[in-house]
């Protein structure tokens, strides 16, 4: 009789996950739906910033232009995007009950994210000190720092959340039954990575 409630075709729980609050029914997981809502709202915010970036492209009254100062952050991007894979490995390990492996892949994910952030910091330092581009310089500076900065701030929030899980994992508090919650956090991290694909395309490919 519970089959009637399963009207939403969400893939909500992985194979090995232990359901948290409800047992027999098939309604979508609260965490996944809640996180999906957050991601939809965040996507709308990013959309507006991307639209502003594209709208102001080439409308600067003074230099420098993107082509003059921007370099492609290839290594950075590889690091961030591969962290989406490592967090999946971590989650799979947790679902299989292999906590050591989980800790390893989780740490790698954090390291890759941190490296990305470091790379952004170095890029900004270079732009500000060597190229003289600040948020006040021109429209390019305005839209560049705000869009990339908005994404970087999401990476920071993601890293904080990942680090909290890491702290729990080191003390042994993250167990197999928490896979569902870790999965929800993983969705956020994937989202941050997907946004980077968009930002990279807009800022470094289309805009440059």
């Amino acid at each position: 009789m519970n089959a009637t409630t399963a009207t939403i075709p969400f893939e909500t729980r992985g194979a090995g996950a232990v359901p948290l609050e409800s047992s027999a029914d098939l309604s979508p997981s609260k965490g996944v739906v809640g996180m999906t809502c957050l991601i939809i709202a965040e996507s709308a915010i990013f959309t507006i910033f991307v639209v502003a970036y594209l709208y102001y492209l080439g409308k600067d009254l003074s230099g420098p232009t993107p082509r003059q100062v921007l370099d492609l952050p290839i290594l950075n991007s590889i690091c961030l995007l591969s962290s989406s894979a490592t967090i999946t490995f971590a989650l799979r390990s947790l679902r299989n009950g292999n906590r050591k492996k989980f800790n390893f892949w989780w740490l790698v994910t954090i390291a890759l994210g941190a490296y990305f952030l470091l790379g952004t910091g170095r890029e900004w330092h270079h732009l500000i000190h060597d190229k003289g581009l600040t948020i006040q310089t021109n429209l390019f500076g305005t839209t560049f720092y705000s869009l990339v900065g908005l994404h970087a701030s999401h990476v920071i929030i993601g890293l904080l959340a990942l680090s909290i899980v890491m702290a729990f994992a080191i003390t042994g508090a993250v167990k197999r039954e928490h896979a569902e919650r870790v999965h929800v956090l993983g969705l956020y991290w994937h989202f941050v990575d997907v946004v980077w694909v968009v930002v990279f395309t807009v800022v470094y490919l289309i805009g440059r």
Partner: protein, 565 residues
Amino acid sequence: MNGRVTTGDIGTAIPLGPIAATDKTIFDHIHSWLVTVDHKRLGLMYIIYALVFFVVAGIEASLIRIQLATPNNHFLSPQVFNQLFTMHGTTMVFLVGMPMIFGFANYLVPLMIGARDLAFPRLNAFGFWLSVFGGLLLYFSFIGGEGMAGAGSAPDVGWFAYAPLTGKAFSKGHSTDYWILGIMIGGFGSIATAANIITTILSMRCRGMTLAKMPLLAWLNLIMCGMVLIAVSPLTAAQIMLLLDRFAGSHFFDTQAGGSATLWMHFFWIFGHPEVYVLIIPAFAFASEIIPVFSRKAIFGYPVMVGATLAIAFVSLSVWAHHMFTIGMTSTGNTFFAISTMMVGIPTGIKIFNWLGTMWGGKLRFDTPMLFSTAFLFQFLIAGLTGIMLAAAPFNWQLNDSYFVIAHFHFVLVGALIFMIFAAVYYWFPKATGRLLSERFGKWHFWLFLIGFHMTFVTMHVPGILGMPRRIYTYEAGRGWGIWNLVCTIGVAFQVIGTLIFVINILLSLRKGRPAGNDPWDAWTLEWSTSSPPPEYNFAEIPTVKSRRPLWDIKHPSDPDWKYE
């Protein structure tokens, strides 16, 4: 019995009688409200919060109307007038409309879908207190915001805060920053609560309640919350940009450095137009619950009602630039936005016909909730008709930013939304308090407010057509606007008295109202199956439903709905 809540979870925790109140001080009570995560208490706090600001913004509107009652009036200074119309609009949309609809959604959605609370109760409390903080921050500007006029200055840039007026050069001091931050923080609360309600509806319905068996109120709130996610966020984004402009020296809306004032208009109305539907869809939701009960018929065309609401939500995302016909778009742009705006009229018309179809042949009972709902139908129709008029770009060029527009959207927001909020308060007050509101006071409230509303807002169309622009603080005597404005202002007095009777009715009925029982209206949805007020856990046993009207099935076991659905 292996449903989503096992009896072991609640077993002994259910208090069997009223919790011993004797040894509790007043501070214990206040404390228990401050730290509550119960959706019903948070819902009530949202509604009370909204009612308080409704009175505040109403006072602001009354001051505006007094100023405009006669030509060459100097009751208010131009500076104060600017602050008042800014704060009136901002307050009514963000501190009255939004908390009011979230309050009702909070209170009703779990009860109507047979759940014990929202999906994330602590997030719910967080969202509410964020909204409160945002509202208080905005109002703190009256004493703390240093504006052009010196210490203590509220925002005066209009509720849509057009650039470049909001730039540092033209809005000195911090009054505009209070506007940005207050609204932005409230927006975070709205997004959090919307996500919470969506999750509750998708994940926590009781057994048997498929999406197609949900009460329409739950459906419409689901759609409304989905719109909040994609409509409020663009405003947040634009406000972040404006903050960067004001504090970091960026140039998003700085026309001196190549920035675009038009872009702010686009961003604002990408939020602003769907926001109108965010506010009005809950009014539809109330109507869809109240009209059937007082017509003694099931809602006419349930699936079409859901479909029409989805269509409204979808189309409303592509109509925003009808607020901007006068900026000079291409004829393609004008045509697109005119047609898309007029298309909203189709699903809206379907809804009105369905409500009429529900009433048609029904055994109508005109208690106060039904009176307000009936007035809503007429007034919303008129609002829609002037909306179609304004959607025609050439007509709009004549009347944009005139009092005709003001009259139009007050027909939507007062004539439809506020009327349905009143209806909803009369309808669900007995559930929340266990006592009925007085019908006698209710009828006085209804008729006075109805007369006042029409005196003010029907009349207001005329000075608009005669060319009176919005936001002017006074006008010359020879324009022919004087008499119309005077009638508008007299209408306000009726509305004020009506609202006063409403407030008195609430305060009196709380103490002396007729006891309501569980189900005073002989209604059919799940909230009426539990006690009034409902216990903290809502349902001692999670119900199982078989149709859209579970209580009808219980009351008429020989002729249940599920045979026909």
